[in-house]
């Protein structure tokens, strides 16, 4: 991506710019192909011994009854769910990082992920102590509500007169640690079964997701991505700092509110259905930005694909590394992510 140096004459500036843009498109295409390959490979990972051919035939509608069950009820929702959850987390991270102008910002620095986990813990431990057994739907609902509560708090804080970006992030970090403390207290008072349920809920698991939930996640993700894409030039302006963005005609207050809202919505939905999958929101936009820059026309599709890829790849590893034991996918995303991140950080200093 590096085109520095060399004297550029008037005539070929546009040609070179086109070549530079073309490299971004090539990278997007590369991501898309990788994602397709990984997704198909991921469909083939599992305890029953199906061949690649068999799973592809099953997908095309020519499988046996048993294969149909395995592919359509167990593996496919996992992969599709993973795709959208990955996109949704990556999108959340990207818009928060852009509007708050901070590469470390993400829905978890705004307290939203921990708020979701807090909600789930209330449902799984507090409700159960009160004698109410929480169904997965109730757990998801309470978790989502908690995320929305946190979002309202953060938006409120962000709209206090004179609240700068750092102020919002610090307040978010404080909220994050408040929710973490609350979780610790609830879990400390829980009995062993409750604790086990709550802890295993917190580990992200794509296997939990159902088709109706996939509809919700995909609708949320795609609509949010569309909104962000329509505002791509405003986000490009935000990357130059709030004051500059303001002077280019961007309503920075709206941008902040919309971004926090969309990030919370996407995080809230994802965490409610599959639990916490760490680091994707931070990692996917950062890697994409380092490879193709932060022009949102290309960074947005890049970030979505990257988020999906990271989650699918991690989930495949989670299922195959210690098979038949399935590791928590969140642990893999964080582990893989951290390594990849360090590598890119050092390489592209």
């Amino acid at each position: 991506m590096d085109l520095r140096g060399g004297c550029i004459t008037e005539k070929d500036l546009r040609v070179k710019y086109a070549a530079y843009i073309n490299k971004k498109n090539v990278f997007l295409l590369f991501l898309l192909i990788m994602l397709c390959i990984t997704s198909i490979a991921s469909l083939n990972i599992g305890s029953s011994n199906m061949t690649v051919g068999q799973s592809i035939m099953t997908l095309l509608g020519k499988g046996s009854k048993q294969f149909n069950h395995i592919v359509f009820n167990i593996r496919l929702p996992r992969v599709i769910g993973g795709l959208f959850v990955g996109m949704s987390m990556a999108l959340s991270g990207m818009i928060i990082q852009s509007t708050l102008n901070n590469p470390l910002a993400s829905p978890s620095t705004l307290g939203i992920s921990n708020a979701s986990a807090f909600g789930a813990n209330i449902a799984l431990i507090v409700f159960s102590t009160m004698g109410i057994t929480s169904t997965p739907i109730v757990t998801s609902a309470v978790s989502f509500l908690a995320a929305m509560l946190c979002m309202i708090l953060v938006i409120g804080i962000s709209n206090i007169k004179g609240a700068g970006k750092t102020f919002v992030i610090l307040a978010g970090v404080a909220l994050n640690s408040l929710f973490a403390a609350a979780i610790t207290v609830i879990q400390y008072l829980a009995d062993e079964t409750q604790l086990a349920t709550a802890v295993s809920w917190t580990f992200g698991d794509l296997g939990r997701i159902t088709y109706p939930q996939i509809k919700i996640v995909s609708a949320t993700t795609l609509l949010s991505a569309l909104v962000v894409y329509m505002m791509r030039w405003s986000y490009n302006a935000m990357d130059m700092g709030e004051r500059t963005a303001h002077s280019i005609g961007v309503n920075t207050k709206n941008m902040r509110n919309i971004s926090i809202f969309l990030a919370a919505l996407n995080t809230g939905v994802s965490v409610a259905f599959v639990g916490m999958i760490g680091f994707v929101g931070l990692l996917a936009p950062q890697i994409t930005k380092r490879v193709i820059g932060e022009d949102k026309r290309y960074m947005l599709p890049g970030t979505l694909l990257m988020g999906a890829l990271v989650v699918i790849l991690s989930d495949s590893m989670a299922r195959s590394l210690w098979a038949p034991i399935v590791l928590p996918v969140g642990a893999i995303t964080s582990f893989l992510g951290a390594l990849l991140f360090l590598y890119i950080l050092f390489k592209k200093r």
């Binding site: 004297c7 530079y20 700092g241 500059t244 280019i248 005609g249 820059g293």
Partner: protein, 250 residues
């Protein structure tokens, strides 16, 4: 009606920073804002561009009250270069292209690319047009930021200390670029600046601020040993060299 009219502008943080300021700016004139650190230059510029909302008073551009203008309409009228700009992770070309945002509807069109290219050529940025903005030197980046502001095709350019981080060669170069470009396009410039000699070389008018008020506003005849003593509390000699006014520290 003048191009820019500032009427009775007052701004308070916890104390009064701008105190009933009124002045007019003609189209195409180049104005230097002078005053000690903390005099309120940045605050005045931010009030002109709605980054801050005046406590009372109003600002009219082309006869329109800026309070009634939408962000986009305002950005088509005036561009602003912050005292502390940060590069995004983007090429110089893309950075300047973002200056076209006030004119963009759904997406950039050919005209936006052409304008960007035109400004790159005018400001002589061809050599690093496709470099990452965060790899540029301070002087190079300062020119890019100017180019971004000019890509907005503003009628008024607000610059907050555009030359503070530059070496003496780049100070003159940046000022010269702006002066020539804005003269050609009939853009008014308001620039806050600490180097009085640099201001004397390029400006049509001077606005000297003191204690949140306008101490003097006028052409170079207001730059005298006395006015500088009053505003900056230093003793200088004002001389004329090669037909240009300059000051020398005493």
């Amino acid at each position: 009606m003048n191009f820019l009219e500032v009427r009775d502008l007052t701004f308070k943080y916890d104390r009064c920073i701008l105190n009933h300021i009124s002045f007019d700016v003609e189209r195409g004139s180049f104005i230097s804002l002078l005053g000690i650190n903390g005099a309120g230059k940045t605050t005045l510029i931010k009030n002109l561009n709605k980054l801050l909302k005046p406590t009372c008073g109003s600002v009219f551009i082309d006869g329109l009250n800026i309070a009634d203008l939408k962000s986009k309409a305002l950005a088509q009228k005036m561009a602003y270069v912050d005292q502390h700009c940060e590069p995004a992770k983007n090429t110089v070309f893309d950075t300047i292209l973002v200056g076209r945002v006030p004119h963009i509807n759904a997406d950039v069109v050919e005209e936006d690319y052409q304008k960007t290219e035109e400004i790159i050529n005018k400001l002589n940025l061809q050599d690093y047009a496709l470099r990452e903005a965060d790899t540029l030197s301070g002087g190079e980046f300062q020119k890019v930021v100017m180019a971004r502001a000019l890509a907005q095709e503003p009628k008024l350019l607000l610059l907050d200390e555009p030359t503070s981080n530059l070496d003496i060669k780049n100070q003159v170069e940046v000022m010269k670029l702006i002066k020539e470009y804005c003269e050609e396009k009939n853009i008014s410039v308001i620039v806050s600046i600490h180097d009085i000699n640099l201001a004397l070389q390029f400006s049509d008018k001077f606005l000297m601020m003191k204690n949140g008020e306008i101490y003097r506003y006028g052409d170079e005849s207001i730059i005298t040993a006395k006015s500088i003593k009053d505003v900056y509390k230093i003793d200088v000699d004002v001389i004329r060299h090669k037909n240009r006014k300059s000051i020398i520290l005493n």
